[in-house]
Assembly symmetry: C2
Homo-oligomer: 315 residues x 2
DNA sequence: TCGAAGTGATAGTCTGAGGCTATGGCTCTC
DNA sequence: GAGAGCCATAGCCTCAGACTATCACTTCGA
């Protein structure tokens, strides 16, 4: 009963099973797999016979997956996922820094980091093709878990703990207010206590930066403004009105305050900050290229914001 | 980049890779896979080319796995394991109670439970072929984790916690002593305190029954005998000499004390006991047949020893 | 030192798995 | 009731992967 005994089906047949299930029909699946519909029919019929399970109910309007079929297709997916891991690890070992990696980035990092980093990556890892996408932490973590993404750039957070990660750098928070706001009168580092009693504008739910800023507000006795912003740019607009202050990640200041409409003050050391990491599914075959990407980004972080608070964390 | 895109290798090629790695040579692997050696050579060469990784170093005395090859073969194993799961789940859904399950049993249960249970299983699950093996808890758990076994009959224990399991029944401990031993003077249930100051013979290290009995000794102030037995039969022999007492699982009494050489007394309720379970790898495709096997065994347990202490536990 | 026994690689042939096109039968929809 | 869409069937063709026979090489042991 060794692992290398023959099985009565092929990887390709499993791919066909999943394709038909995903696309809901033989013709569509055939087209997606680049074969003719009769070939698809024949292969599906064959695998159904081989495993003695009717996976699909054929109807005039396409196919339905049977109850037994759903379980079978679940396992077929697992096999194909393992096969993809095999391909990945093989590519890593033929040339670890080539191929494609899919990396997601949270919205409060993406527009500020990517422009800088993209060209550096192209220069230092010329054979590595990085596909970027932007989403909030929850969605990114889910996609990494499901292997829809190879990695994600996130702020360190309980939701990230089950993933492996490499440090990218720390990003301190800064205090931003309209130029005529009382808190803008003084320059130089602010102590966190100046927030006491202030009205602070924050991002809407779902942004991890909101949670981090909210924690700081709670600790200092600031109160949250009624209005919630959908992005940092909106936040800057709101505060520009003069009726409150906000917190910004240092990384975003150069872009969001490019016209200098706000006064920006750092916090006294140790400044509140978020730790940015590149995280991936534990045991992912893409560990090596992701590690390399993290190294490039780390060296590319704006010098003032870079340098993790302590030694670079790794798991 | 969907899951159903074609891959440049076949399941069979992965089987060949693993076979060559396991058996250390092309000819042996070819024989094990039932093909001619040139076919094996050709397929290995092809997959090595497809993934652009040299997996094996060919030498005059067989092959060695390269560093990159080891990682690749690791993933190939994962794919084949997933494929086996696929086969399993398919068989479950074509006929859940047919096929083969491999079940390990601990030594302090195996010889007493199996004779009774084997015929009941044959009668109630005629299409299910059960392959039994005997080993200690640690080894069994490792084999279940590695999918070398589908399930194992064990006493509930921290080492079993990460597995799913179905209850089989509780097995109370009994006190056994030579017929002329002071503790054999009285009949009827003994309180655990009678062990105070007694010399108790126990099994050697590695038996979970040793740990359970030792815990009871510690709680009651009994002391362990110098000599450690390799099995319950030896334990009975030792105690027969009259210089000490021992604990036996109720399950073993009928067999080990069949000649009545020892006086056997139950403990007062609630008697110390072990909970026997059939455990399997979480998410195993063999859940359904294993569950059925557990049910058969549960109904077959000697009536006096059966009946779990509380409701049957399941996860 | 040389042959025997082991290793994997190569050459040439053959068969069948799985691709294709063309077409049929069925069931919804208009 | 015609048409559009679905999957199944029939018949053909090609190439992946099996086979046998043999070679080249290394490592023993007489």
């Amino acid at each position: 009963m060794a692992l290398w005994n023959t099985v009565p089906y092929s990887l390709r047949q499993l791919q066909y099973l999943v394709a038909v299930a995903d696309l809901g029909g033989f013709r569509r699946a055939a087209a997606a797999c680049g074969v003719a519909q009769p070939s698809m029919s024949a292969q599906i019929a064959q695998v159904e016979q081989a495993i003695a399970v009717q996976v699909f109910e054929r109807g005039a309007r396409g196919v339905r997956v049977t109850a037994a079929g759903a379980a079978v297709i679940d396992r077929a997916r697992a096999v194909l996922l393992a096969a993809r891991d095999f391909s990945d690890i093989a590519r890593q070992h033929s040339d670890p820094l080539s191929g494609t990696v899919r990396i997601g980035v949270i919205p409060t990092v993406c527009p500020y980091l990517l422009p800088e980093v993209a060209s550096a990556l192209k220069a230092q890892l010329p054979n590595l093709h990085v596909v970027w996408s932007e989403d909030k932490t929850r969605a990114l973590v889910d996609q990494v878990d499901a292997a829809a993404l190879d990695g994600a750039i996130l702020a360190l957070d309980p939701r990230v703990e089950h993933l492996e990660h490499a440090a990218i750098g720390d990003d301190p928070f800064v205090l931003a207010a309209a130029r005529d706001h009382p808190l803008a009168k003084r320059t130089g580092p602010a102590s966190a206590e100046v927030l006491q009693g202030e009205t602070v504008f924050l991002l809407e739910d779902g942004h991890c930066f909101r949670d981090q800023a909210l924690a700081l507000c709670g600790a200092t006795g600031a109160k949250e403004a009624e209005l919630k912003a959908t992005g940092l740019a909106t936040l800057v607009q709101m505060v520009g009105g003069g009726s409150g202050v906000t917190l910004l990640p240092r990384l975003a200041v150069a872009v969001e305050n490019r016209r200098g409409q706000l006064a920006v003050r750092p916090f006294k050391s140790p400044a509140p900050r978020r730790s940015l990491v590149l995280a991936w599914r534990r045991g992912s075959a893409m560990k090596r290229p992701l590690d390399a990407v993290a190294r490039v980004i780390r060296n590319q972080m704006p010098a003032s914001a870079a340098r993790p608070h302590r030694a670079s964390k790794r798991r």
